[in-house]
């Protein structure tokens, strides 16, 4: 790979390509590709990682002792009380962070205060909602061996959304949304929620109302009607995200009926660390050694089987660092963390493009230690990558998205059993969510899938529908999606996409579709995470 001539200043995220700019690196699943963009293309890079807090443990203690809109945690603890601590599951952060996980640090501080105040009736519940239950080793990585050995499995466990004996309805919004939550959480004197806000969609009222609820409750907002009215769901303003609006409504009932102490955190975007840290920087900043490492990595990855490539990336933790932590009442706590999130992620961008180019990486929130199956490729493209904006989408209405991913038709049958049927049977009938929604309840009530969710490590039977709805706003907006160099061409076809053998052919297809010989092209150089503040 020739060294690109630097065309950006160190303070700017935007680079415009000219004839001497050289190729750009894109993620291609568990591999990488180099793409030579047309002259005049715009490349948007994420912000550099913010400096972390110098002493995370001290910051945690400070947050617990100086909360927003609530009494300090120690003041709310008393001997003999019933306490439940809920925490985010394996979907956060991505990839899983290197030890010690932030949850371990926060739980250690909480439990220390509990011990000082005679609180010993403590359960720690992993707020999975309808995500798969975490395995023992995964839980151990999150909470650390000390807490794991003391609490697992009787007092440290996954929330079970299908254990109807332990789901309690605490109220209903005026719009008829039912708030049904984990019984232990509802009946506790105090519920503490430990959150990791990887993206602005997380946290706030979403934590408890979604993480600890059941299918009847989550279906109030996890549906196609809601997803079509999110512009985008990374923008937490209720007027922009119907998902946020409904979660807020339901969250008000939670705050009224329960005593909840939120602990929210923001991270920088240092996804890659150590010898891989160059992958998080623009190519123009790479040294010769970085370039050599990249070439060697690409060569090695091409020679490995896919399972080995996945195993390689599963062993590489992220190097995210804590940039902010706040605690207390839901809304004031969340507002401060959102500020911290956007300080890291927001990139001001002028104008939309006709063609948005992006690589799809190896990981999504739903395939940690697992396979990125075709449904999840779709959710990464039209769910997450498309929705990483505030204001307006990066791509114009009816524009083209060009994606890089090998598109293997592969599923992990332990984690995603219902996805197999959804992909082969439901998508064969069409890709319009309004049409396929009629089959949702059949999957939700399937006793086999319920068994695999409750007693195995499977996502709930209904989950592939939610993944499909997650791409609805993108599907409604984007005119055409083209996948470059898929190794299985059936996958793009089943998803309703086109495929091209190489980038130049994809660009020809885009020009033809748009009826423009020189469309405006933008490449989103994510991951690491960024959110484009698009001004049209």
């Amino acid at each position: 790979m020739a060294r690109p001539r630097p065309r950006i200043s160190r303070d700017s995220n935007i680079e415009f390509i000219d004839d001497k700019s050289g190729a750009r690196m894109v993620h291609y699943g568990t591999r990488f590709r180099e793409v030579v963009l047309p002259r005049g293309s715009r490349v948007i890079y994420p912000n550099a990682p913010l400096e972390p807090l110098g002493n995370p443990r001290a910051a945690i203690r400070y947050a617990l002792n100086h909360p927003e809109g609530a009494d300090p945690l120690y003041a709310q603890l008393r001997p003999g009380m019933k306490l439940t601590i809920a925490m985010d599951d394996i979907s956060l952060p991505l990839p899983p962070m290197k030890a010690p996980d932030l949850r371990e640090l926060i739980l250690t501080e909480i439990l220390s205060q509990c011990a000082d105040h005679g609180v010993d009736d403590i359960h720690i519940v992993i707020a999975v909602c309808l995500h798969r239950h975490m395995t023992g080793p995964e839980i151990r990585h999150c909470v650390g061996s000390k807490i794991f050995n003391e609490y697992y499995p009787d007092r440290l466990y996954n929330h079970d959304a299908e254990d109807q004996d332990n789901i309690v309805e605490i109220g209903q919004t005026p719009q008829g949304e039912r708030v049904r939550l984990n019984r232990r959480a509802v009946e506790s004197d105090l519920l503490i929620y430990v959150n990791i806000n990887l993206v602005p969609m997380d946290g706030g009222h979403k934590s408890v109302t979604v993480g600890l609820c059941d299918y009847l409750s989550v279906s109030a907002h996890h549906n196609t009607h809601t997803m079509h009215k999110c512009h985008s769901y990374m923008d937490p303003r209720p007027e922009k995200s119907r998902l946020a609006k409904i979660c807020n409504r339901m969250g008000e009932i939670v705050d009224k009926e329960l005593n909840v102490f939120h602990i929210e955190t923001a991270l920088n975007n240092r996804m890659y660390g150590g010898p891989l840290s160059y992958l998080g920087r623009p190519e123009t900043t790479w040294s010769q050694f970085d370039r050599a490492k990249f070439q060697a990595s690409c060569a090695l990855l091409e020679r490995l089987p896919e399972s080995a490539r996945r195993g390689f990336f599963e062993k590489i933790p992220s190097h995210y660092e804590l940039t902010a932590i706040h605690a207390g009442a839901t809304e004031p706590t969340h507002d401060k963390i959102l500020d911290a999130c956007f300080r890291q992620y927001a990139v001001p961008v002028q104008g939309q493009c006709d063609v948005l180019v992006s690589g799809v990486p190896f990981i999504s929130p739903y395939n940690v230690n697992s396979v990125l199956n075709p449904i999840l490729i779709q959710v990464m493209a039209l769910g997450y990558l498309f929705n990483m904006y505030r204001g307006s989408p990066l791509v114009k209405k009816d524009g083209v998205m060009i994606l890089f991913h090998p598109c293997h038709e592969e599923f992990n049958r332990t984690h995603h059993p219902s996805y197999v049927e959804f992909y082969h049977r439901i998508l064969s009938m069409g890709t319009n969510s309004y049409d396929i929604h009629q089959y949702e309840k059949e999957f939700a009530d399937n006793p086999d899938y319920i068994h695999m969710y409750r007693h195995g490590h499977a996502y709930h039977g209904v989950h592939p529908f939610y993944m499909w709805y997650w791409g609805d706003a993108g599907r409604a907006w984007v005119g055409q999606v083209i996948v470059v160099d898929p190794e299985n061409r059936r996958v793009p076809k089943q998803l309703g996409w086109e495929s091209a053998p190489d980038f130049n052919t994809a660009m020809d297809m885009a020009r033809s579709f748009l009826g423009k010989s020189q469309p405006e092209v933008t490449m989103s150089h994510a991951p690491p995470i960024m959110i484009a503040d698009v001004e049209v």
Binding site: R413, V420, P447, D448, I450, M452, R454, H455, G456
Partner: protein, 220 residues
């Protein structure tokens, strides 16, 4: 809904196989010599049964059920109840019982279909409150088992034929029916319905389930 869920029993609903009930009968024989003789013969024959099962479930049944020769029919029924209380109930896969309840709530008829003998299966069927159960029947002469099974012997393809007939007799839509089993010998039974599920599958069944994208459940 006109559909049923068919369940194999041994290895699917309970952590046991046909050897366990006979071992119970053997160790509860009327006489001490009977106890010792039957038990010793059973233990000595285990390798033979393992080979026979590999050759075919029907072949295995023909050899294995000879062990029941001479046992009084009344004793078979009485000990069958005791067997359930002392052995089988403790070996039930509770998650599968939960699954059966949900399946019933969804409107599926619940049907047990097993190669075990009816004296062993009836108490289980009553406990699970299923809509029907079908098991193998020992031939009885002069109030004693002859060691032979009455046709049709429920194993392999016979189970599949049975499901098809049951569906016709009960006006069921086979495409909507479910079936649960753990053994490669039950692939015909699983292939008959629209929604087969492999439960704790052996290597043979696991390979088929994987190739055909059937759900795989681990119970127990």
């Amino acid at each position: 809904m006109r559909a049923a869920a068919f369940y194999d029993v041994d290895g699917t609903l309970i952590d046991a196989n046909v050897i366990h009930p006979y071992a119970f009968y053997a160790t509860n024989d009327v006489t001490l010599s009977g106890k010792l003789g039957r038990t010793a013969k059973l233990v000595a024959s285990l390798p033979l049964y393992a080979v026979a099962d590999r050759l075919g479930r029907k072949f295995f049944n023909d050899i294995f059920y000879k062990n029941y020769r001479g046992i009084l029919e009344d004793r078979l029924w009485v000990l069958g109840e005791e067997l359930f209380d002392k052995v089988i109930q403790k070996r039930l896969f509770r998650e599968m019982i939960d699954l059966m309840k949900r399946s019933r709530d969804e409107g599926y008829q619940q049907v047990l279909l097993t190669g075990a003998i009816e004296q062993v299966v009836k108490p289980l069927a009553d406990y699970l409150d299923v809509d029907a159960y079908f098991a193998n029947r020992l031939e009885i002469q002069d109030e004693r088992a002859t060691g032979r099974l009455l046709p049709p012997v429920l194993a392999g393809p016979e189970k599949a034929a049975f499901i098809r007939k049951y569906a016709i007799d009960n006006d069921l839509d086979l495409n909507l029916c479910r079936a649960y089993a753990d053994s490669g010998s039950d692939i015909p039974m699983l292939s008959t319905v629209g929604r087969p599920v492999a439960v704790n599958p052996d290597a043979n069944l696991r390979a088929t389930a994987t190739a055909h994208l059937w759900p795989i459940i681990n119970a127990g």
